[in-house]
Amino acid sequence: MLSSIGEIGLNHYLILSAALFCIGMFGVLMRKNALVILMSIELMLNAVNISFVAFSRYQNNLDGFVMVFFVMAVAAAEAAVGLALAVAIFKRFREINIRFFEHLKG
């Protein structure tokens, strides 16, 4: 059954990472909850990781893999800071829905 699917090429991975990226993007756009937005940003970063690995695999040089580690490190730092901010806002506003902090406008 597996062989009928045929060879999984570079494009498949690119499509996958693009799809994940778009899902993450819509997550940021649509969802109202701050934490879910954080998660969707993480999703976008991981989508990029997939494309890095795919490119590195099909050009058989190792740069891609190294970049993945950098990206993951940065994603972790972002997540930490993001959550800290979300907690601080929750403590102050008692509200996690981003509709509530629109004081800065005009």
Binding site: M25, I98, K105, G106
Partner: protein, 641 residues
């Protein structure tokens, strides 16, 4: 040597004006008056000295051309501050300074109880200075300085009693109407400069311009100059300011609006007569305008009740005669009529001045009458002027006016129609002048109780006497050929001899047919006598007949009495639309259109700013949407672009 004379001649009135100007607050009218009179006197003696010097010089080089310094030096235009004293200008100078000093003398008395006599005399002196500049200028530009200078002085003098709103308005009206004329003169000067390349009279006259029978550049230049002349010498259509100018003190009217300023236009045309001759069309226009002005002014003079207004319209009419003379080419007759008119019109104005002075500022002749017994000297001098103006034989008016009438027929440029208009006007002149005489001096006295007319002091009557003498004997200076052949001893036409070749001869002038001349002369004398007698009878016994005629010709009478509604016409058709237009311009173009655009633009930016502000509604996801939308649009361009 004559350079010093000319300098003194010019600068003494200026000096007088300055002295009186600085002490304008002083009430001492005698001191101010005497300073002014002395200064003008000095100019008079200087001009007499120059005149005698000119007499001695040979005919062809009989002029002084003196330049003091370079005034304007731009491109090929070089205008020296130079003055030309030649037969034409010396005559004018003598008239100006002569009659001028007489009028200054008269003013001392007239201005005795005015609060600003020094200011009055400084303006009068400044006027004389400007008038001398006008007549002595060596080029058109110096003449133009004098031209506008006298306009300025007439503005100041007419509006001398400025506290009264009408008098100030009259001054302004005079200046603006003159300015319209000056605009025409300016255009004429530019056209001449375009053709000749220089502005000095000698260059223009000797530039050998070609005959211009059509409506070429030369004719347009000359007509432009004529527009200037109509502005200054009060011809149709720009004569409206002269009757209102009577708001000024009477000596001012005598000096400016009778003897000197109004003759500026005639002087200019005579000065440039060699080029005027070259354009028959221009001369025809001048003659026609002159004749029409004479006719209409005379008609208006008949129905006026203000003594000075009558004299004003009479001046306009006489000026019409002078332009008629110039139009038909009789330049000498024109200048001669200027001289004689200066004498008897100044006389009559001063006479009316002393009457008004005696009647405590009363100018309406309906409240006068029978002043003969109260003011004998004024009366008899006035009679002399009256006789001169209606053209009684062997007086100055007779010689100059009939010369013009004769030339208007005899000259190839003239025509019977022009003569006819002149002839009828002469009749009308006799009529209104006699009406004036009867209503003021003869007839029964209508003087109100509280007014006691008395004879004016000697300082006022002396000039009257001198002018009366001049009016009577002035005519002999220019005895026309027809008349001189009748008289024994064949007296030459002195002025003609004096001007010599300065006056260009009229091409195609035929031999004088004396018989025709005598018959025309006789006809005009008879007409004058007849209308004078009619006027006398109408205004003494036949009041009822007069009233009946007025009743019958109701419409015509009303029309003429209101001066053909010319003032109202100007006001309604020119001044008011102009003011309305400028209000509209200011309302709609400046405020309504241009400023509105700036408001629209600034409001547009305000709205745009509000729009930008709307896009920033503070929602996090709205911003993320902008980013991704921007990204998506550019990606679509990359992929499909």
């Amino acid at each position: 040597m004559e350079k010093i004379w000319i300098a003194i001649l010019l600068l003494s009135p200026l000096l007088g004006a300055m002295i009186n100007g600085f002490r304008f607050r002083s009430q001492n009218y005698r001191l101010a008056g005497s300073i002014a009179t002395i200064c003008v006197g000095i100019s008079f003696f200087a001009s007499v000295a120059l005149f005698s010097k000119l007499l001695g010089m040979p005919v062809e080089s009989r002029f002084f051309n003196v330049s003091f310094f370079d005034w304007i030096q731009v491109g090929s235009l070089s205008v020296p501050m130079a003055f030309l004293v030649d037969p034409i200008s010396i005559v004018m100078m003598l008239i100006i300074t002569g009659v001028g000093s007489l009028i200054h003398l008269f003013s001392i008395g007239y201005m005795s109880h005015d609060e600003r006599p020094a200011k009055y005399f400084s303006y009068l002196n400044f006027f004389i200075f400007n008038m001398l500049l006008l007549v002595m200028g060596e080029n058109l530009l110096i003449m133009f300085i004098g031209w506008e200078g006298v306009g300025l002085c007439s503005y100041l003098l007419i509006g001398f009693w400025f506290t009264d709103k009408e008098k100030a308005a009259a001054g302004m009206k005079a200046f603006i109407t003159n300015r319209i004329g000056d605009a025409g003169l300016l255009l004429g000067i530019f056209l001449l400069f375009l053709m000749v390349g220089s502005l000095s009279f000698s260059d223009i006259n000797s530039a050998g311009l070609s005959e211009d029978t059509g409506w070429g550049m030369l004719t347009l230049a000359l007509l432009a100059l004529f527009v200037g002349a109509t502005g200054k010498s009060a011809q149709i259509p720009l004569y409206v300011w002269l009757p209102d100018a009577m708001a000024g003190p009477t000596p001012v009217s005598a000096l400016i609006h009778a003897a000197t300023m109004v003759t500026a236009g005639i002087y200019m045309i005579v000065r440039l007569n060699p080029i005027f001759i070259l354009s028959p069309n221009a001369m025809f226009v001048i003659a026609l305008v002159g004749a029409l002005t004479a006719f209409f002014a005379a008609s208006m003079g008949i129905l006026q009740w203000d003594i000075k207004k009558i004299l004003a319209y009479s001046t306009v009419s006489q000026l019409g005669y002078m332009f008629l003379a110039l139009g038909v080419g009789a330049f000498t007759a024109g200048i001669f009529h200027v001289m004689t008119h200066a004498f008897f019109k100044a006389l009559m104005f001063l006479g009316s001045g002393s009457v008004i002075h005696a009647m405590h500022e009363e100018q309406d002749i309906r409240k006068m009458g029978g002043l003969k017994k109260y003011m004998p000297i004024t009366h008899w001098t006035f009679v002399m002027g009256w006789l001169a103006i209606i053209g009684t034989p062997f007086l100055s008016g007779f010689f100059s006016k009939d010369e013009i009438l004769w030339m208007s027929v005899h000259s190839p440029r003239g025509s019977w129609l022009l003569w006819l208009i002149g002839f009828i006007t002469a009749g009308m002149t006799a009529f209104y002048m006699t009406r004036l005489m009867t209503l003021t001096f003869w007839g029964k006295s209508r003087v109100p109780k509280d007014v006691h007319p008395h004879e004016s002091p000697i300082s006022m009557t002396l000039p009257l006497i001198v002018l009366a003498v001049l009016s009577v004997f002035g005519g002999w200076l220019g005895v026309p050929h027809g008349v001189s052949s009748l008289l024994p001893g064949h007296i030459p036409h002195l002025l003609e001899v004096w001007f010599g070749d300065l006056i260009a001869p009229i091409p195609g002038l035929g031999k004088a047919n004396y018989a025709l001349e005598y018959s025309l002369m006789a006809m005009s004398v008879l007409l004058a006598a007849g209308s004078a007698f009619a006027a006398y009878k109408l205004y003494t016994e036949k009041e009822s007949l007069l009233a009946a005629w007025v009743q019958k010709a109701k419409g015509l009478h009303n029309l003429v009495a209101n001066k053909y509604f010319v003032d109202e016409f100007y006001h309604a058709r020119i001044i008011r639309p102009c003011v309305e237009m400028s209000k509209a311009l200011w309302e709609f173009v400046d405020v309504g259109f241009i400023d509105k655009i700036t408001y629209i633009v600034s409001n547009a930016f305000q709205d745009l700013a509000k729009a930008v502000r709307m896009t920033q509604n503070g929602n996090l996801q709205r911003y993320a949407l902008y980013i991704l939308a921007g990204l998506f649009v550019s990606l679509s361009f990359v992929v499909w672009g």
